[in-house]
């Protein structure tokens, strides 16, 4: 480039503003100081308060957070701290909270200063893979650009690879994904999610992808106690509550429902509660002349739950 033949007053003192980030925490010497500056503790508390169960997941999140805090201290002392690879894979049965945790993960990583913006871009196969030749690369790149500075959450990632069709464009999307995951790992964090067995097959056919993901987190199924807690929280959020005996009936319902096919953990709980609300509404609707007070409108009685299909067919 040509140097200009003129002089701008003050132009020599151009301050390089690029490395303003790491210096923010120069003074922090202890873990507590870093934690106070990043306010990551409050995220932990929220995590503990809002998410029932999921003990191994919470532990892993704490481990990752600890590593990032220690790295921050190392940088402050001038020690080399290579940015750890934080791409993750969430496996687990439906309704075990994969998306919810991914959202939290974006916030935690943002507070720790690992990602710059802390937003979550949730995509599926349709958003990455195109319909004709030459459509996939721009589409994938566009999604990646939107996710930069935050977290890219690919739900049901195993659909990206379709072995039965050798001309499937999914492979192309995976290749672009791999390239960016490797070269720009401080710009975005990729989280793949899906059911365990299908993700395992997916990784077997894409070993490059598996080896670039450092954290494989397996979401355990919820126990009845945990599901019942989740139900309580959902009801509280919607300003409902269980009437006399309804909670025991609901536990009974859960125990029967868990054994049945297509049980989707927290999602099944939500659906069961939605159906109970419907039954409560029609129960109240049928009593045309009754004056309904607040307690009537917010209480789910055992009859609302006992009408469920699960109770009518005890053999299954």
């Amino acid at each position: 480039m040509n140097a200009p033949d003129y002089h701008i007053p003050g132009s020599t003192a151009v301050a390089p503003a690029a490395d303003a980030g790491p210096h923010e925490m120069t003074c922090a010497r202890t873990v507590n100081e870093v934690l106070a500056q990043s306010q990551v503790e409050s995220v932990f508390d929220e995590l503990e308060r809002d998410l029932v169960g999921l003990v191994p997941i919470k532990q892993r999140i704490r481990d990752i957070a600890a590593l990032l805090v220690i790295d921050k201290l190392r940088i402050n002392l001038g020690l080399a701290a290579e940015a750890p690879s934080l791409h993750m894979c969430f496996t687990g049965n439906p309704g075990t909270g994969k998306t919810t945790v991914a959202l939290r993960m974006a916030e935690i990583l943002h507070r720790l200063g690992y990602v710059r913006k802390g937003h979550l871009v949730a995509v599926t196969r349709d958003d990455l893979v195109g319909q004709y030749i030459g459509h996939t690369a721009p589409k994938t790149r566009e999604v990646l650009k939107k996710a930069m500075g935050g977290v890219l959450f690919i739900d049901e990632a195993y659909y990206l690879y379709r072995p039965e069709n050798e001309r499937d464009y999914g492979q192309e999307a995976i290749e672009i994904l791999l390239q960016v995951m490797e070269n720009q790992r401080d710009d975005l964090v990729v989280i793949l999610a899906g059911y365990k067995d299908r993700m395992n097959t997916f990784f077997k056919s894409n070993p490059g992808l598996s080896s670039r993901i450092a954290h494989h987190l397996d979401f355990p199924d919820y126990a009845v106690d945990e599901l019942s807690q989740i139900a309580q929280r959902m009801l509280t959020q919607q300003h409902y509550h269980f009437g006399d005996g309804a909670e025991d009936v609901f536990r009974d319902y859960l125990e029967r429902r868990i054994g049945q096919p297509h049980f989707a953990n927290a999602r099944s709980v939500r659906n069961a509660l939605d159906r109970a609300r419907l039954r409560q509404a029609s129960r109240l609707f049928s009593e045309r002349d009754r004056v309904l007070d607040k307690a009537d409108l917010t209480t789910l009685v055992p009859a609302d739950l006992l009408a469920s299909r699960v109770f009518q067919n005890p053999s299954s």
Binding site: N2, P4, A17, K117, L144, K146, Q184, D187
Partner: protein, 144 residues
């Protein structure tokens, strides 16, 4: 008369300043993203002042949160067109604005010969003037 006294073409913002570094470009992009602008990248090898519409390098980038995405695209444009003019433009989609609100050159050729002033004598003593880029005598693609 010198038509190109500084040895570099001045168009858009910051063009009288020394070249922006990548860190400075990133700050400008972040400023625009903070305002909700959509960035796009254009290139040309004919920087005539009347050449308003340069070639688009990919689609305008809507819904971005971070400058890294634009920088990635800029890097790929610089790799494809190392000695073309490349500019970044920010589009403000606010109702009734709906136009480009920022535009600056981020890549230029090594050597910029600039423009010549052509005088055409027409009826009587009238003269018509036109600006002609020296580089545009050569065919497209081999100008710089």
């Amino acid at each position: 008369m010198m038509t190109n006294p500084t040895g570099k073409i001045t168009q858009g913002q910051f063009s009288f300043l020394p070249e922006l570094t990548d860190a400075e470009i990133r700050l400008q992009i972040d400023y625009g993203l903070g305002k909700g602008y959509a960035w796009s990248i254009e290139y040309t090898d004919d920087p005539h002042p009347r050449n308003t519409y340069w070639e688009m390098f990919g689609m305008p980038m809507f819904d971005l949160q971070d400058a890294a995405g634009v920088m990635m695209e800029l890097a790929s444009c610089r790799k494809t067109f190392p000695s073309h003019y490349i500019r970044l433009m920010a589009f403000d989609s606010t109702r009734n604005v709906e136009s480009i609100v920022m535009s600056f050159i981020v890549n230029r050729p090594e050597n910029e010969p600039g423009f010549g002033l052509l005088r055409q004598e027409v009826g009587g003593r009238s003269i018509r003037y036109t600006v002609h880029g020296y580089a545009s005598d050569k065919p497209e693609g081999s100008r710089y």
